[in-house]
Amino acid sequence: MNRLRRFFCTPEAVAGAAILASLIAMALAAPLIFPGDPQAIAGPALLPPFHDWSLPLGTDRLGRDVLAELFHGARTSLAVGLAAAAAALLIGAIVGTLAGFAGGLIDEVLMRVTDAFQTVPSFLLALAFVSIVGPSLGVVVAAIALGAWTGPARVARAEVLSIRERDYVAGARVIGMYPLEIAFREVLPNALPPVLALSSVIVAAAILTEAALSFLGLGDPNRVTWGGMIAEGRTVLRTAPFLSIVPGVALVLTVLGVYLAGEGVVESTAVRRSLS
């Protein structure tokens, strides 16, 4: 409760939380406000915004409702961003814990694999993965997670290396606990806080990567994505710049909101730590 209050004390955190909350509301409300197919033709092509109040943000090249696309795009962006970040954190935490706790050869092998993933640019990795497997929502999530798990893995490993020397880990061994249980029940939960602190950066990066993939036409073709909308608007950038600007602004606001809220969480926990 106290932590929550401290979180809302910083204006950045409040702004971030407000942006995120409205985005989540947008994503949740999309099928209610715009129940039809957002990719269906709704009116005349290239209608500018604020001319027809049944289509407030106008229409794109094919006459699709931009506002409906924006709402449905929020669903994809958030879903992919959160799912990819969750997958990356999960894989990273498991690999890092195993490497740090087991030590020796297992540590060596896992960390060299991590190195290998880290040396390949993550966007290139995602690009190659989607090109080979084919674009669909699950594949895009996996592709983004593939390039993002190395950071959490390194942080988790470093934390586990310090935790495994603590008395309570020795105590768990003394009572005869199975090593894997010690690693995942005693060590991993206590190594999580610094790993979770990475989550805002990873979510933001995942949303941007998803947009970039969609921009290149490698997103799920059955879903509206902001990256896809920008790519779509690019061809008429001079005559109808709003088609690229609207989803672009949405993207910027989302990433900003995630960063600010993440920063707020880190800040509020940091204050708690220095006080105790």
Partner: protein, 261 residues
């Protein structure tokens, strides 16, 4: 019949590139329901011996026989199963538990791991253990960080006796407690020893506490045994330089030994 027999135990570390012996040719025995104290200044190898006896670290040389079997020959599942008979209580009762655990979970673990009680039975066993160490049974639902240091050390003892061990290693187990709580914990340990016939390997730098609880004492210096013998005799009349220094460092004991002479 001995519970634990340690012979010629050695552990070397490298410090600043040079090897040094943390434990050097140490041998001792503990019988059933006996308390052997390991005393010595900081860095004399007391805690290293505790970790070696518990197989938390592996010795470079020597032999450890526990309950008549070669303890160093065990590994994997057979070692984990054997650990039920050989328990430990740590110095800092806060560091010795997972910071996220509740009292119930701490006591549940050994019962579950060694299949001592079924899932349905365990809450009763946990309540019985808490009562055995003089705690209220409603403490079970509390988080470890919510209870006092003395209560925590009682929970640590409850966990150690949960698997009915024949030997408990107490590594400075009362050093972090304040004086009044220390006395109560020592009483509890003596009471448990009388009733359950548990042997203690009691590690401490405090000769006052050792005299109160130990039958025999081994005084260590730089990893070697400096002297050993009956606890009261050794403390009343230490022969080694380290023994004399330790006695001199305990003001109350100096006075009593002067009165005795």
């Amino acid at each position: 019949m001995t519970v634990l027999a340690v012979s010629n135990l050695a552990k070397r570390y490298r410090r600043g590139g040079k090897p040094f012996a943390a434990v050097d040719e140490v041998s001792f025995e503990i019988g059933p329901a006996e308390t052997l104290a390991l005393a010595g200044p900081s860095g004399s190898g007391k805690s290293t011996i505790a970790k070696l006896v518990l197989r938390l670290i592996e010795p470079d040389a020597g032999r450890i026989d526990f309950e008549g079997g070669d303890f160093l020959a065990l590994s994997g599942g057979s070692l984990r199963a054997r650990r039920a008979r050989l328990q430990m209580v740590f110095q800092d009762p806060l560091a010795a538990f997972n910071p996220r655990a509740t009292v119930a979970r701490v006591l549940d673990d050994p019962l579950r791991i060694h299949a001592i009680a079924s899932r349905a039975e365990r809450p009763l066993r946990i309540a019985a253990l808490l009562e055995r160490v003089g705690l209220e049974t409603n403490l079970a639902t509390r988080a470890i960080h919510e209870i006092s240091g003395g209560q925590r050390q009682r929970v640590a003892i409850a966990r150690a006796i949960a698997t009915r061990p024949s030997l408990i290693v107490l590594d400075e187990a009362v050093s972090a407690l304040d004086v009044s709580v220390r006395g109560q914990i020592l009483e509890l340990l003596l009471d448990l020893q009388r009733q359950e016939r548990i042997a203690y390997l009691f590690i401490s730098h405090d000769l006052g506490v050792i005299r109160a609880i130990a039958h025999r004492v081994v005084i260590l210096d730089a990893g070697k045994i400096a002297e050993s013998g009956d606890a009261r005799t050794v403390i009343a009349n230490p022969q080694s330089a380290v023994g004399k220094a330790l006695v001199a460092a305990t003001p109350k004991l100096v006075r009593t030994s002067q009165e005795a002479s």
